[in-house]
Amino acid sequence: MSFWEYVSTRHAQLLTDTYQHASAVFQCMVIATLLGVFLGVVTYRSEWAGSLATTTTATVLTIPSLALIGLLIPIVGLGVAPTVIALTLYGLLPVVRNAIVGLRGVDPALVDAAKGIGMSRAARLFRVELPLAWPPILTGIRVATQMLMGIAAIAAFASGPGLGNEIFRGIASLGSANSLNQVLAGTVGIAVLALLFDAAYVLIGRLTISRGIRA
């Protein structure tokens, strides 16, 4: 059976997997973004808190994803829970790091001006600092998403959702008729998803970054 025949006979299953893969990555990215920006906002003004946040999230990234999911199974069980936790943790680092770098990179003279014209702390953060730090934060989110695309495939190891299931099934039945097609379908699917997400980010950037600071 050729690859195309395989895809056309199994397209229902493949589409479900693809949708679940995308949905898992998207939802985890939303959580990681909210959490990451929050951590950045809380820590960027203190030297040590900022480094602590960056180092902690960087340490998480050094744990092999398979190991992390393996470690999570005895604690939270199989399925969606370990997938979401692992993906969110991995997605944090680029967001946190870029949020801190971005917020620290805002010209102090502008923060001074914002204070000087009578903006409250919250107004300064939401109307001046975050909009100016948004381009690097968005880059962080983009990098994190790319990374999660690949890591999400591992989630199938813990019976998680997504295209990883195709890949694992293929690997488990190596030598059988469709094993190679299965691995290939999973991989190609992930690559296509990654490209689509990237295109979406370009669009989001266009829509959310002010024309006044767009490169």
Partner: protein
């Protein structure tokens, strides 16, 4: 919100500012950055803080809107003690313009200007018309600049928008921290002229920080020369500081050429222009010759049909003028108006080979002549008058101080000073 009114009120003119024993000590540093500054700034006055880098002039300014919280001392604006009120509220009533404009790059010109009116809850329609009004006020065409981003503006334009933003909510007080420090000299000159014009219309109380003494002379009603820790070396009018610097520090800061700088402060209309023998170009030759021979001066000024200076005519030129004056005399190349500064007049006199320059009115018509001698005499008189005034002024200040001390002592003696 109590501040919210639908009717645009009459523009708020300045409020007086009183700084009382302001001190700022940064944690971990033994010496205060600003020590015991007391100063009274009158409503509608432009006061310039000038001093060398690191003398604390910026720190002093930022304590007025409490961007830097004073360690001790009080700040009063108008009748209100603002030392302990909510700083955010205070700052919305005090305009603030900084070097390199401080415009937010992600907002359009209009959004930048509308920030403070929006924050204090002006209705949308009023904010919108205010933005147009402010752009107009600082000399930018609203239609063209409304939707531009700061990076699409030149440095001078950005600075104008910065001033417009600072003035948008019509604060009685405007603080300016080296606002023109980052623009080229020509634009700076222009912006300074604009500020003078604006202040003429608005009568705000302006505190302006600069390290450029010439800028201080040009803009200030009074100048506070500050030395390290913001100690006031002298706080007086530009004239007084130029002619009677309080000490070596001030005269060092005023720099060489105080007398020359003084010339910038006086205009030709303030000094006497002398009369000069003139003749019209259509006068008969005979009468011109007669006048030249009879006059005490051996020269006269020939005016054209619109009574504008045309030619200098010397007695020696007569030999060449047989039938007509077409070839005789020297053409007038340079004139000054009555609004020219004495410095401009001196420049013109120095370049003229006979050491005099014609003064003209609005349409270029002849009014009189300024020569080296009148300039010299006038400048001497001016400087002498300044000196006398300054001495008198210092006398007054000393008396006032003595009076105050006496009153304070009396108050203390009565235990608590219940008497006002």
């Amino acid at each position: 919100m109590p501040e919210t009114t639908d009717q645009p009120a009459a523009p708020a003119s300045g409020a007086n500012i009183r700084l009382e024993n302001l001190t700022k000590t940064y944690p971990g540093s033994p010496a205060p950055a600003v020590e015991d500054v007391s100063m009274e700034i009158k409503a509608g006055e432009t006061v310039i803080f000038v001093g060398p880098s690191g003398c604390g002039k910026s720190t002093t300014l930022k304590m007025i809107n409490r961007l830097i919280e004073p360690t001790s001392g009080r700040i009063r604006i108008g009748d209100e003690d603002v030392t302990d009120i909510d700083p955010v509220k205070l700052r919305r009533k005090v305009g603030y313009a900084i070097q390199a404009s401080g415009l937010f790059p992600h907002m359009t010109v209009a959004q930048n200007i509308a920030l403070v009116p929006k924050m204090i809850g002006w209705p949308k329609s009023r904010t919108r018309s205010r933005v147009e009004e402010m752009l107009d006020l600082v000399g930018l065409d609203p239609g063209e600049f409304h939707d531009r981003y700061p990076r699409q503006l030149s440095g001078g334009q950005q600075q104008r928008v910065g001033v417009a933003r600072a003035l948008a909510a019509d604060p009685p007080v405007l603080l300016m921290d080296e606002p023109f420090g980052a623009v080229d000299p020509i634009t700076r000159d222009h912006l300074q002229d604009e500020l003078i014009r604006l202040q003429h219309e608005l009568h705000k109380t302006i505190c302006f920080v600069t390290h450029d003494f010439d800028e201080a002379i040009k803009l200030g009603d009074r100048i506070a020369v500050l030395r390290e820790r913001s100690h006031i070396a002298q706080f007086d009018t530009p004239e007084a500081i130029l002619t009677n610097p309080a000490d070596d520090f001030v005269s060092g800061f005023v720099g060489a050429g105080a007398a020359l700088k003084r010339l910038n402060l006086t205009r030709v209309r303030d000094v006497g222009v002398v009369d000069f023998p003139t003749a019209g170009i259509d006068d008969p030759l005979e009468s011109i010759f007669d006048r030249l021979r009879a006059g005490a001066q051996n020269e006269l000024l020939l005016l054209d049909r619109n009574r504008r200076p045309y030619k200098w005519l010397r007695r020696s030129d007569l030999a060449r003028a047989k039938e007509t004056l077409a070839r005789a005399g020297t053409l007038v190349t340079d004139t000054v108006t009555r609004d020219a500064t004495l410095r401009d007049a001196l420049e013109a006199v120095l370049t003229d080979n006979a050491g005099r320059v014609a003064v003209t009115g609005r349409r270029g018509e002849y009014i009189g002549v300024v020569d080296m001698e009148t300039l010299m005499n006038n400048v001497h008189e001016l400087l002498e008058a300044d000196r006398l005034e300054a001495v008198e002024h210092q006398h007054e200040l000393q008396e006032q101080r003595a009076h105050l001390t006496q009153r304070e002592q009396e108050g203390l003696d009565e235990g608590g000073g219940s008497r006002a």
